[in-house]
């Protein structure tokens, strides 16, 4: 297998794809947003229970490729307990990783997505869940679609 593909499908990603964390509807959710990737049909719904400005609980549901599913799964583990400002900061970091391949200074599982940057068509897959989560935080009623985002 090529180095690029090994980079893309890192062990962390494969693990989250096989055993997604926080998957399924969240019965206690007070925010939900849906994301679509119309060009490939990937879908992701993110459910939040916000406690003030803090994400008390989070889950996701949907279907898509290993990258999109693993990204959404890993995201839920990262965002739990965060404020919306912290969530946005994490997304900015994640976006930097998947678009440039630059790994963050502090050790983090999201660095596993650095390999995505050599597959530009897959960046949308990696960011789908994040877009939905940020929309849920903002309380946007509109579904996120990766097509209308610059990446």
């Amino acid at each position: 297998m090529s180095a690029d593909l090994t980079e893309l499908y890192q062990q962390v990603i494969l693990d989250h794809n096989r055993r997604p964390r926080n998957r399924g509807k969240l019965p206690t959710a007070n925010r939900v947003a849906h994301g679509d990737n119309p060009s490939c049909g990937d879908q992701c719904s993110v459910y939040l229970r916000l406690d003030g400005d803090r994400i008390a609980e989070i889950s996701f549901d949907g279907s898509g490729c290993a990258i999109s599913q693993a990204s959404a799964s890993l995201m839920t583990t990262q965002l739990k307990g965060k404020t919306s400002a912290q969530a946005q900061a994490l997304y900015d970091q994640f976006h930097e990783i998947v678009t440039t391949g630059k790994e963050p200074e502090e050790i983090s599982d999201i660095a596993a997505f650095a390999g995505v940057h050599t597959f530009p068509a897959r960046i949308k897959c990696a960011t789908l869940g994040w877009h939905a989560a940020l929309n849920a935080l903002k309380g946007d009623a509109v579904p996120a679609t990766t097509e209308s985002h610059t990446d």
């Binding site: 279907s63 490729c65 897959r122």
Partner: protein, 408 residues
């Protein structure tokens, strides 16, 4: 003259490596590759004859006009149309269908029915939804049968669906997702019996098998040049002359008018009435040359070749653990669409790409059908004249490797 023995030499693009492996191009359902003859025709046109058509009296304009109208005649012969005036040049299948659908949008009324099928590409579906919304007509669908859509269209239900209220029946010839070959002549005959106009989406069939619009008995037929060795940006709407004469223009402007005053204008007859503005001259010429190329290979032979590859691929893929193959189990068009329970189509396509194999993964512009089948995406391998049995072995080996990686 192209020959089957040396066919791959006619397609310059095939002779390259992708990710260090020889390119195995199996995405012909999306677009086909172009033979040298078509590429040369485009270059020749731009280097020697480029000019506007129908307007100039100078030598180049006459040459360009002759070549453009020659292409129209060539395509009429290719489809066995009664008259070159029945060939309207468009951008492709999508525009062709939209022209017809928009004309119905202004003519239909509440109570009228538009009939289509559950296996249509979005481009033969959404325009009809729009026409129904605009006119108040009802949109109905012929069902697709079987958990894997292996049963094709529910023809038994057709008599019930084809009521006199049905004004138009639009259906695909070969499904781009399933490979199903619809009995188009029978569908046209049954539609005609209730006075419905028929519209065939022939995007996946025209370049793959002999086709005779008069024998089929359709009213309209749409296709794209780029899926049949022709250039992108050129396609055809075939319409029966008697209907085209009654059809109002879709776009208006230069080239399609007879007499213009400040108050109004009168229209030229078909086909010019439907070709406002400067057309895709080079594209039309290239498409004519693509017709020559395919006929030299013999379309009956192309059909045998594509179908044999699809059958072989179907058989070999069916040995893979867990695979779900869609569409007919017997005779099928030149493509195979499949899904694995534990590996998403995009991951499959990414892995195949590493092996140099170009596949399509996704919903194939067929979201409602995917939903009905309980899928969000499939992987599709689609074949054409230059594909070989050895390439199917490369495909199957690549699928095995992918399954091993994701499933173990």
């Amino acid at each position: 003259m192209p020959t089957w023995n040396n066919i791959r030499a006619d397609f310059p693009i095939l002779h390259q490596q992708v990710n260090g492996k020889p390119l195995v191009y199996l995405d012909n359902g999306a677009t086909s590759q172009k033979p040298r003859a078509v590429i040369d025709a485009l270059v020749h046109y731009y280097e020697r004859d480029n000019s506007n058509v129908h307007r100039g009296l100078h030598a180049l304009s006459m040459r360009a006009t002759d070549a453009y109208e020659g292409a129209r005649t060539r395509i009429a012969t290719f489809l066995h149309a009664a008259d070159p005036a029945e060939i309207i040049f468009t951008r492709g299948t999508t525009e062709s269908i939209n022209i017809v659908a928009r004309s119905f949008a202004t003519r239909l009324k509440a109570g009228d029915v538009i009939l289509t099928t559950e296996m249509e590409h979005h481009s033969n579906l959404v325009p009809w939804q729009q026409a129904a919304k605009a006119s108040g007509a009802t949109l109905r669908y012929v069902s697709v049968l079987g958990a894997n859509a292996e049963g094709g269209l529910d023809l038994a239900a057709l008599d019930q669906l084809l009521t006199p209220q049905v004004k138009v029946f639009a259906f695909t010839h070969i499904s781009n997702t399933l490979g199903t070959i619809n009995p188009v002549a029978e569908l046209c005959r049954r539609a005609r019996a209730v006075g419905a106009i028929t519209v065939i989406d022939a995007a996946q069939s025209v370049g793959h098998a002999p086709l005779d619009v008069q024998a089929i008995g359709c009213d309209y037929l749409a296709f794209s040049g780029h899926k049949m060795c022709g250039p992108t940006g050129i396609g055809v709407l075939y319409g029966r002359r008697a209907l085209l004469e009654k059809l109002a223009p879709d776009e208006t402007g230069g080239g399609m008018v007879v007499n213009v005053t400040y108050e109004g204008a009168t229209w030229k007859p078909a086909p010019e009435r439907f070709e406002a503005g400067t057309p895709n001259v080079a594209g039309a010429i290239g498409l004519g040359v693509a017709c020559d190329y395919l006929d030299a290979l013999d379309r009956a032979a192309i059909e045998r070749h594509d179908h044999a590859l699809a059958r072989l691929a179907y058989e070999k893929l069916s040995t893979l653990p867990g695979i779900r193959l869609l569409g007919p189990t017997g005779e099928r068009g030149g493509l195979v669409s499949f899904a694995f329970p534990d590996v998403h189509a995009h991951d499959v396509v990414t892995f195949a790409d590493e092996d140099g194999v170009a596949l399509r993964g996704g919903h194939h512009c067929n979201q409602p059908l995917m939903r009905k089948l309980g899928l969000t995406s499939t992987t599709r391998a689609s074949f054409y004249v230059y594909n070989t049995a050895e390439e199917i072995d490369v495909l199957v080996a690549s699928m095995r490797r992918t399954l091993k990686f994701f499933v173990g």
